[in-house]
C-alpha cells in the first residue's frame, strides 16, 4: 500500500509538474528578474539621472502639478528613494477614468523626455499576466501556481531519500542521475522559499480567485473592502471654495520623524480647494508587511487629521504574505538571497522538464522512433528554457538599439522580445537537438556578456562611470547580466564539448546491448 501511495504521488508530481512546467519556468524567471524591477527600469531609462531623496523633489512636483493639472481631483506623487527610483506623478483630468502619468526631473520639476519603455515593469507584469488580457493571464498563472503547490507537496512525498540524499550531487554520472540530483538539491534546499513564494503568490491574487467571501461580507461594496485592506480612503467631497495648499516640507518632516524615513507616496486630494487633504503612505521597505501605514493631513492648515497604523489580524496576515512575495522590504543582501532562491526555483523547474525528456528519450532509444509527445516536450523545453533568457536579454538590447523617437517605441521593445522568442521556438521545432540548445544558450550568453559593452557604446553611464559613482542600478544590471551570461556560456560550452562524447558512448552501449 505504501509503495502504491508513493507511486501515486510520483505520478501526480510528474504530471502536475510537466503540464504547467513551461509556464512555471517563465513565471519563475520573470518573477526573479522582478526583484530588480526598479533597477531594470532605471537601466532602461539612462537619460534619467539617479535622484537624491528629500523634500525638494516633492515640492517641485507639486508646483508642476499646480501649473499643469490644477483641476485634477487627486494627485499622486511617488518620490525617488535610495534604490534610484524616479520622481513620478499621477493625476486625473476631471471626468477621465484613468490616471495620466509623467516622470519629472527631480532637480527642476519639469517633465522629462525619456525614451519610451516599459522597463522592468514588463517582466513584472509578465510574471503574473503573461502579457495576456489581465483576467486570462492571472487565471492561468493562478492555476499553474496551484499545480505548483501540488507538485511541491507530492514531490516531497515521493522523494524517497530526502535526508540521505540531502547533500548529494553527482555530476557526470549519466544524464538521468545528475539531473535528478540537481532537481532534488534545488528543490529541497530552497524548499522554504518555494513553498512561501507559491503560497503567497496565490494570496496576492486571492481577491480575484475567490471573491465570494468579500461579496458576502461587504454586500458587494468592493471599494469598502479595498479601503479596509489597503488602508486607502474614499475621495473627499469637493467644497468648491478655492484655497491655497499648505507647504509640503513640514508635513514630510513630520512623516520622517514618525517613521524614521520619508514616505513612499504622497496623495493630494482636491488640491486647491478648501476640502484638500494630504495623505502620506509609509514606504514598504521598513517592515515585511505590505499593509500601508498612512498619515492624513489637513490640506490647508497642515494639521494631522489621522494616522492609520496596524491593520486587523486578517489584513495583517495578508499584508505579511503579500510583502514576503514582493520582497520590497528586503535589504540588498536579502534581495540577493531571494534572487538566488528564485534562480534555484527556475533551475528546479528546468531540470524537472529536462529530466522528463531525458527519461523518455532513453526509453524511446530502445523502442525506436520518438513519439509526438516526446518531440513536443523537447521542443517546448528548448524554446522555453533556452529561448526565454535569450528573449529577455534581447528585450534589454532592443531598449538600446531601437531608434529613440520611434513611434510606439515601448511596444516595439515588447515586439522584439516576442520576435526573438518566436525565432527560438521555430528553431526548436525545425532543428531539435543538442546543437540548437548550445546555439541558444550561446546566443543568450553573448547577449548577457556583451550587455555592458552595449551600454558603453550607447550611453555615457557605462561601468567605468557607474561604478565609481556608486550608481548601483546601472552597474548592478550590467554586472548581473554579464554574470548570468557567463553561466549560460558555461552551459553552452558544456553542451558542445561534453555531450557528443557521452552520446556516442551511450549509443555504443545501447548498440552492444541490442546486439547481445
Amino acid at each position: 500500500m505504501r509503495q502504491g501511495f508513493r507511486q501515486c504521488m510520483s505520478w501526480l508530481h510528474i504530471w502536475s509538474g510537466l503540464l504547467v512546467g513551461w509556464i512555471l519556468f517563465a513565471v519563475f524567471l520573470t518573477g526573479t528578474a522582478s526583484y530588480f524591477r526598479n533597477e531594470i527600469s532605471a537601466w532602461m531609462r539612462p537619460e534619467l539621472q539617479a535622484a537624491a531623496p528629500g523634500a525638494e523633489p516633492v515640492r517641485l512636483a507639486i508646483e508642476t502639478l499646480q501649473r499643469t493639472a490644477p483641476n485634477s481631483p487627486s494627485w499622486i506623487i511617488s518620490p525617488p528613494d535610495e534604490r534610484g527610483g524616479e520622481l513620478r506623478v499621477f493625476w486625473r483630468e476631471p471626468g477621465a477614468r484613468r490616471f495620466a502619468t509623467a516622470v519629472l526631473d527631480p532637480a527642476t520639476g519639469e517633465p522629462v523626455r525619456t525614451r519610451e519603455s516599459l522597463g522592468g515593469n514588463f517582466f513584472y507584469r509578465f510574471h503574473f499576466e503573461l502579457h495576456m488580457a489581465p483576467l486570462w493571464g492571472r487565471w492561468i498563472v493562478g492555476f499553474c501556481a496551484m499545480m505548483m503547490l501540488v507538485a511541491i507537496i507530492s514531490g516531497i512525498v515521493t522523494h524517497r531519500r530526502i535526508f540521505a540524499d540531502f547533500f548529494t550531487f553527482r555530476p557526470g554520472k549519466g544524464a538521468g542521475r545528475s539531473w535528478l540530483d540537481a532537481h532534488n538539491a534545488l528543490g529541497v534546499l530552497a524548499l522554504p522559499y518555494h513553498l512561501m513564494i507559491t503560497y503567497t503568490g496565490l494570496i496576492t491574487l486571492m481577491v480575484m480567485y475567490m471573491p465570494w467571501g468579500i461579496q458576502a461580507a461587504y454586500q458587494g461594496d468592493r471599494q469598502a473592502f479595498v479601503n479596509d485592506v489597503f488602508g486607502t480612503a474614499a475621495l473627499v467631497k469637493r467644497a468648491n471654495q478655492p484655497a491655497p495648499l499648505t507647504p509640503i516640507a513640514p508635513l514630510l518632516d513630520e512623516a520622517t520623524r514618525r517613521w524614521g524615513g520619508p514616505p513612499g507616496r504622497i496623495d493630494v486630494q482636491q488640491p486647491g480647494d478648501a476640502s484638500a487633504v494630504i495623505r502620506m503612505t509609509r514606504r514598504d521597505a521598513e517592515s515585511i508587511s505590505a499593509n500601508p501605514q498612512t498619515l492624513t493631513f489637513d490640506g490647508l492648515r497642515g494639521t494631522l487629521l489621522s494616522a492609520s497604523g496596524e491593520a486587523a489580524a486578517a489584513a495583517a496576515t495578508r499584508g505579511v504574505a503579500y510583502g514576503l512575495h514582493l520582497g520590497r522590504f528586503a535589504s540588498p543582501l536579502l534581495r540577493g538571497l531571494f534572487f538566488l532562491s528564485g534562480l534555484a526555483g527556475t533551475a528546479m523547474v528546468a531540470t524537472g522538464l529536462v529530466l522528463w525528456a531525458a527519461k523518455h528519450r532513453h526509453r524511446h532509444a530502445r523502442n525506436g522512433r520518438a513519439g509526438f509527445g516526446l518531440r513536443l516536450v523537447e521542443a517546448l523545453n528548448l524554446a522555453t528554457i533556452a529561448g526565454l533568457p535569450t528573449a529577455m536579454f534581447g528585450f534589454l538590447w532592443a531598449n538600446r538599439l531601437l531608434p529613440l523617437h520611434l513611434a510606439d517605441r515601448a511596444e516595439w521593445e515588447v515586439r522584439c522580445f516576442f520576435l526573438i522568442w518566436a525565432l527560438a521556438g521555430l528553431q526548436a521545432v525545425l532543428w531539435p537537438g543538442l546543437r540548437s540548445w548550445a546555439a541558444q544558450f550561446g546566443a543568450a550568453a553573448l547577449l548577457g556578456l556583451l550587455l555592458p559593452v552595449l551600454n558603453l557604446l550607447t550611453t555615457d553611464r557605462h561601468l567605468g562611470a557607474s561604478l565609481p559613482a556608486g550608481d548601483w542600478a546601472m552597474a548592478g544590471t550590467d554586472l548581473v547580466a554579464a554574470g548570468l551570461g557567463l553561466l549560460l556560456g558555461y552551459l553552452a560550452w558544456r553542451l558542445v564539448h561534453r555531450a557528443p562524447a557521452r552520446q556516442a558512448l551511450r549509443g555504443a552501449r545501447l548498440a552492444r546491448a541490442e546486439g547481445a
Binding site: A164, F166, F167, T168, F169, R170, P171, A185, L186, L189, A190, P192, Y193, S287, I288, V320, L324, F329, A330, S331, L333, L334, L337, F338, L340, S341, A344
Partner: protein, 110 residues
C-alpha cells in the same frame, strides 16, 4: 555579521554531511566511527542553530528569520556544488568562513 551567519550555516551543513558515510568518504576518506558520527551530527545541528543568532541580532525576528532561511539555502547549495568539484575547498571553508565572519564583524558592523 551576515557573513558570520552564512559561515556558521555552511559549517553546520558541512558537519551534517560529514556525519554521512558517502560524504565522509568523499571528503575525508573512510567511514566515520559511531562516536565521531554523533559528534559531527551534534556539531552540525549546533552550528546551524547558532547561525540563526546573528540573523536575529542583525534584522530582528521577522526579517531575521526570512534572511536566515535564505542564508541556509545559499550555504547548502554552495556546499553541494563544492563537494564534487572542489572537495578540499569544501572542507577548508568549514572553519574559514565562520572565522572570516568573526574577523569581519567589527569591520562591517552591518
Amino acid at each position: 555579521m551576515a557573513l558570520l551567519g552564512f559561515g556558521l550555516a555552511y559549517a553546520g551543513f558541512l558537519g551534517l554531511s560529514l556525519a554521512m558515510d558517502r560524504h565522509h568518504a568523499e571528503l575525508l576518506g573512510g567511514r566515520p566511527a559511531t562516536a565521531r558520527r554523533r559528534l559531527l551530527r551534534g556539531l552540525g545541528w549546533g552550528l546551524l542553530g547558532l547561525s540563526l543568532l546573528p540573523c536575529l541580532a542583525l534584522w530582528g525576528t521577522g526579517i531575521g528569520l526570512v534572511s536566515w532561511l535564505g542564508l541556509l539555502t545559499a550555504a547548502g547549495l554552495g556546499l553541494i556544488l563544492l563537494i564534487p568539484y572542489a572537495p578540499r575547498l569544501a572542507l577548508w571553508l568549514g572553519p574559514l568562513l565562520p572565522l572570516a565572519g568573526l574577523l569581519a564583524w567589527p569591520i562591517l558592523v552591518a
